[in-house]
């Protein structure tokens, strides 16, 4: 009896300890998984062919053939995709929430399809079916990216809408004399800012890193350029990929902190009063 209780009393402690060790281990492995390639990449990009520390890769980037074009193409695609996806998805999601709640399930299913269907299948099919004039334009990629980002964009917006009482806010606005566009602009969009922001961040990150579709559609976007240039100079290519990674992070941080400072500003304004 005594032995039993003491055993029972002692047992949980090592178990808890073991759990903590496991947690640390898993976290460590996950971190290593991300950090080691990153470290290797950074190190490699700051070396020359002889293996010495050097900034030559950084200095050489702007003068490399095709870099500027690829860079601007990626930026253009990122922002056209962003505009396209928001113009399509924001009104659709709001409308479904307000007027077709039963279609939500279907929409959820449809927006998950781009994840289920591999991009390579999608782009090969589209390249067969698209008219010549569209195939000749890089903006075919924007259209494809709108589809590709749909799962993330829909989920961000859906979560954002679910966080507010959309129906009541819309009805309050209508009863106060606002028409549809006024309600959208002054009431719905400002309160969906967080959802729209996270949708935008995901869209930009995804488009700036997309490789498969761009390369099959034969457009040299930044990731495609990096891949091709690797055969010319690995150090420069790696440096560019590191910079594009950091650039994306900076972009995301700026957007998020803009949102934070905006909401902090409004809060401070209220506290002063």
């Amino acid at each position: 009896m005594v032995a039993l209780t003491s055993a029972a009393g002692v047992a949980p402690a090592p178990r808890r300890h073991r759990v903590r060790v496991w947690r640390g281990l898993v976290l460590g492995i996950a971190a290593a998984y991300f950090l080691i390639p990153l470290y290797a990449g950074l190190r490699f990009s700051f070396q020359d062919d002889a293996g010495h520390w050097s900034l030559y890769a950084l200095r050489a980037i702007p003068s490399q053939i095709g870099f500027t074009g690829a860079f601007w193409l990626s930026i253009k695609l990122a922002f056209t995709t962003l505009v396209g996806t928001l113009v399509l998805m924001v009104p659709t999601t709001i409308y479904v929430h307000l007027h077709l709640p039963r279609v939500r399930r279907l929409l959820e299913f449809v927006t998950v399809l781009p994840i289920v269907i591999p991009p390579i299948v999608l782009i090969l099919g589209v390249l067969r079916a698209a008219p010549i004039w569209l195939k000749a334009s890089p903006y075919l990629l924007s259209l494809m990216y709108v589809i590709l980002t749909m799962p993330f964009v829909y989920r961000s917006l859906d979560a954002g809408i679910s966080a507010i009482d959309l129906k009541t806010l819309v009805e309050a606005s209508r009863s106060l004399g606002a028409n549809g566009p006024q309600t959208l602009w002054r009431v719905i969009l400002p309160n969906l800012r967080a959802g729209i922001l996270s949708a935008s961040v995901l869209t930009l990150a995804l488009v700036l890193g997309e490789f498969t579709m761009a390369s099959l559609d034969l457009w040299t976007t930044l990731p495609v350029w990096i891949y091709q240039f690797q055969q010319t100079d690995g150090h420069i290519a790696t440096m560019v990929s590191m910079l594009s990674l950091i650039g994306t992070w900076v972009l995301i941080t700026v957007m998020v902190s803009l949102d934070r400072s905006e909401s902090r500003r409004s809060r401070r304004k209220a506290e002063v009063a």
Binding site: D165, A172, R174, L176, A270
Partner: protein, 362 residues
């Protein structure tokens, strides 16, 4: 001084709902609902959950289209008028302030939509916040306000547009009891000062009886009785109303023409619509008196102390009757004591025997 005068007295509109029908699938949310509201009057819609109160209010506001029937405001059919053009201020059950705007901007929103210049808008919004006692909170955002404060801002926001009709859908139900009674009085006195036609939805009978000029008791999409609070309580026209408003007990009786026999007494029947012989008498606790009588037919089952009075439950034959007794008298009544009962009311309401009445107990 009141806004009604500033408006040239236009704030009190007459509202008529005529035979409204609204069907959702198999549910008849409104099933021939009619209601007249006089200019400047406050009418409460009272009824159990799901009886169609919100649907009626939304039909009036224009958020719900009806399948049949008419909504008339000052005699004009508003079927083709969209919600934003109906000039109806609405306060919702859930918090409905715009989270991205300060209290002041919330209140000014309706004026902004009407193209009122920003200085005039500010002045008016400040004036209304003062009216609901929240002047010093003007710059706060909804998340910085308590529930009661939010609903007061919502009220100010609805009033800012000087609506023709004010619609309130259980605006107090999310608040705790103390805040609720305070705000109830505030809404009522504002409504009277502004002489604004108001429809107030609630499932709380006390709220309806204490605030309204008239109360409309709804049941399954229809108006069961519309009357002043006093009339509704003392002269309910149906057992449903009697059960829903106040406390009542049912006693099986035999009907003999215009009277029923109750504990050896002949009592006049109030409602003549019923022809059946076997009916139930519906009695209020104050309709009955108790006399201690060792040979009496009834016995005391339960007492609950309510302050000045004590509610005594007695068992008589197969029925249980609740009777209000002055608390000092009730001290002599103990569990199991034999008593006799007598009817002290002028007349009684009868309802069909075993006519089941679906009333939610609070």
């Amino acid at each position: 001084m009141s806004q009604a005068q500033a408006n040239g007295g236009s704030s009190g509109a007459r509202v008529e709902l005529r035979e409204l029908v609204r069907v959702f699938g198999r549910t008849r949310a409104l099933d021939g609902f009619s209601l007249d509201v006089e200019p400047g009057e406050l009418v409460a819609l009272l009824g159990p959950s799901g009886c169609g109160k919100t649907t009626a209010l939304r039909a009036l506001a224009g958020f719900e289209l009806v399948d049949h029937g008419q909504v008339l405001v000052d005699g004009h059919d508003v079927a083709r008028v969209s919600p934003q053009d109906r000039d109806m201020g609405m306060v919702f059950q859930s918090y409905s302030l715009f989270p991205n705007m300060s209290a002041l901007h919330n209140v000014g929103f309706g004026l902004r939509m009407r193209g009122v210049r920003s200085t005039a808008r500010r002045d008016k919004a400040h004036e209304l916040l003062e009216l609901v006692g929240l002047h010093e909170h003007a710059e706060k955002y909804p998340h910085q306000l308590s529930g009661g404060q939010q609903q007061r801002v919502a009220l100010a926001r609805a009033l800012a547009i000087e609506p023709r009709v004010l619609l309130l859908d259980e605006p107090l139900s999310a608040l705790d009891a103390k805040v609720r009674t305070g705000l109830r009085d505030q809404i009522r006195s504002l409504q009277q000062r502004l002489a604004i036609t108001t429809v107030f939805v609630t499932h709380d009978q006390e709220e309806a009886l204490s605030m309204a000029d008239r109360v409309c008791v709804m049941r399954e999409g229809r108006g069961e009785q519309t009357a002043t609070p006093a009339e509704l309580y003392s002269r309910p026209t149906s057992a449903f109303v009697a059960h829903f408003v106040g406390v009542s007990s049912r006693v099986p009786v035999r009907r003999d023409g215009a009277t029923v026999g109750l504990w050896g007494q002949e009592v006049t029947v109030r409602n003549a619509d019923l022809t059946a012989r076997d009916v139930d008498a519906v009695l209020r606790p104050e309709d009955v008196a108790i006399v201690i009588d060792p040979a009496g037919p009834a016995s005391v089952v339960h007492k609950s102390f309510l302050g000045a009075i004590t509610r005594v439950t007695v068992s008589v034959e197969s029925a249980e009757v609740r009777v209000d007794v002055r608390s000092d008298m009730a001290r002599d009544l103990n569990h199991g004591d034999r008593v006799a009962l007598s009817v002290v009311a002028r007349d009684v309401l009868v309802s069909p025997r075993d006519g089941r009445v679906d009333v939610e107990e609070d």
